[in-house]
Amino acid sequence: MRAPTGQEIAAGEILLSVDNISLSFGGVKAVSGVSLDIRKGEIRAIIGPNGAGKTTLLNIINGFYHPQQGRITFKGKSRSRMRPYEAARGGIARTFQNVALFKGMTALDNIMVGRTLKMHRGFVWQLLRFGPALAEEVAHRRVVEEIIDFLKLQQVRKIQVGKLPYGLQKRVELGRALAMEPELLLLDEPMAGMNLEEKEDMSRYILDVNDHFGTTIALIEHDMGVVMDLSDRVVVLDHGIKIADGAPSDIKNDQAVIAAYLGVAH
């Protein structure tokens, strides 16, 4: 599969949309009246200054937060709130801003956990670890090994993830999300805290995932160079409100966006 071009995306099918979503914590309006869509096959960037509500939006999409107002439509089904289990089952995977791995487990086991929903053998079979359950375990292990190869994690697969450097932890987390074979991949600052080389690697993996598997990706990122290079469309939030939405080249010259980032001269 090949990544779609700009025109194809503009005409493309909508995978997920949020409609007039609002959520406040106490008196703080984290997100207010935001609407946006994510189309099949695109890389959609969500940018904005700190505290703009980007992560909140991601948390609403995968069901960690329930919006007080608005609707979420995913694969044609509209609802007022998502549950984490529904989101995962429906094919939404994500990574976290501060890396949320299972620290006591090896890289391999972390990625294996991503296969949880794909494995179906019953409790008793598993306990016996025999027959169909063993065959299933082996089959899924093969998929996981492919992901490990893809992300070049062979060297560290048996190492406890708590001991890995930060950049590799982020890569393992991406691997765990990929193991779910998601239709929509949410990446919360996949390059935060990385050096230039690691950023370039991560960019390449993101493009490859989009290219090879046709996975739709929504990502939050602060590095503008990366955002402009990777994404097909960009949405800009500021103080919980959407201030711009469009192609990277348009966003770059948008007065409201420049004002939000740099401040306005009075």
Binding site: G104, F123, R129
Partner: protein, 318 residues
């Protein structure tokens, strides 16, 4: 000099002089160690999956044993009673998840710990209300648990091996082996460990916390029932059994709160340490050494290996 002699020279000399007694002490130590390990296992299960120290594990042991004996007292055949008791432990797991854990999700661990205190006193009250407070006799014969003892001739003396002790050791080892494989190698086992490490990440891959908690509390309930039967068969079934649950603490410190094999090794070290201490060094300090020696052993371990012998060593970066 006399004291040093009594501490360092005399006990080994005695051990050499009466090897049959030494073997007897080691055997009894191993058996009580395995039984401690059974209790510790219940704690480890719940701690692994939810990071909560379940204070109610001790009373779950008593409650399971009382249910079994009480049902049998009302004329229910032993094995049917066993099945019904398993059902009761499953309902208890469901109820704990629904009433205690779910409303407290995302609360600090200390809150959940305190909730298990509440659960303890609730179960004590419920148990006394239904079954009464007086001690009962475990229905060992009807459950086909062996009675009597083997007498084995060794080193010119005799060693007594209670058959019930042998049965207890075998059952405990089987339980431990099954649980260890289950945790390390299966989807649900991995999901359990995942939940223990990070609720958020576990949710994001589609693990249902509710389901995992029911499974783990039910597993702890099964372990509690096995523990109740074994301890009940050696003494009797009463609320005093709840106290032995505290013996699991030094075992957990030794073995690590998250390790199933650790629970068994820790249990045996504590059990053997206690028995040898009581046999050979006990008279020196007056009796009663058994009540505190375990904690001293645990304390010494804590200084050198805070994560226990087999505990997962989680590296925190600052």
């Amino acid at each position: 000099m006399d004291l040093l002699y009594k501490i360092f020279i005399d006990p080994p000399v005695q051990m050499g002089a009466a090897p049959d007694l030494l073997v007897q002490a080691l055997w009894e130590g191993c058996v009580s160690g395995v039984l401690y390990a059974l209790i510790a296992l219940g704690f480890v299960l719940i701690f692994k999956a939810s990071g909560v120290f379940n204070f109610a594990q001790g009373i779950m042991v008593v409650f399971a044993a009382l249910t079994l004996v009480g049902l049998n007292g009302h004329g229910v055949p032993a094995f049917l009673a066993l099945a019904i008791t398993l059902g009761v432990m499953f309902v208890l797991a469901l109820a704990v998840e629904r009433v205690v854990l779910r409303p407290l999700v995302n609360q600090p661990e200390i809150i959940l710990f305190m909730a298990t205190f509440g659960l303890t006193y609730f179960l004590i009250g419920l148990g006394e209300l239904i079954f009464g407070g007086e001690p009962k006799v475990m229905i060992s014969d009807q459950l086909w648990l062996p009675g009597g003892a083997y007498r084995i001739e060794i080193f010119g003396g005799f060693v007594q091996l209670q058959k019930i002790d042998i049965a207890a050791a075998v059952i405990a080892l089987l339980l431990v082996a099954a649980l260890a494989v289950f945790f390390q190698r299966t989807r649900i086992g991995r999901a359990l460990r995942a939940v223990a490490d990070s609720h958020m990440a576990a949710l994001s891959v589609g693990i249902s916390l509710e389901q995992i908690w029911v499974i783990v509390w039910f597993a702890a309930g099964i372990v509690a029932l096995a523990t109740g039967i074994m301890w009940g068969a050696r003494s009797n079934v009463s609320f005093a059994l709840e106290i032995i649950a505290l013996k699991a603490l030094p075992v957990l410190i030794l073995g690590g709160f998250t390790s199933i094999p650790g629970a068994i090794v820790g249990g045996v070290i504590i059990g053997v340490g206690e028995k040898l201490g009581e046999f050979y060094w006990g008279p020196l300090l007056g009796s009663g050494i058994e009540s505190w020696l375990a904690y001293v052993i645990a304390l010494v371990f804590l200084l050198f290996r805070p994560q226990g012998l087999f505990g997962e060593r989680i590296i925190e970066r600052v």
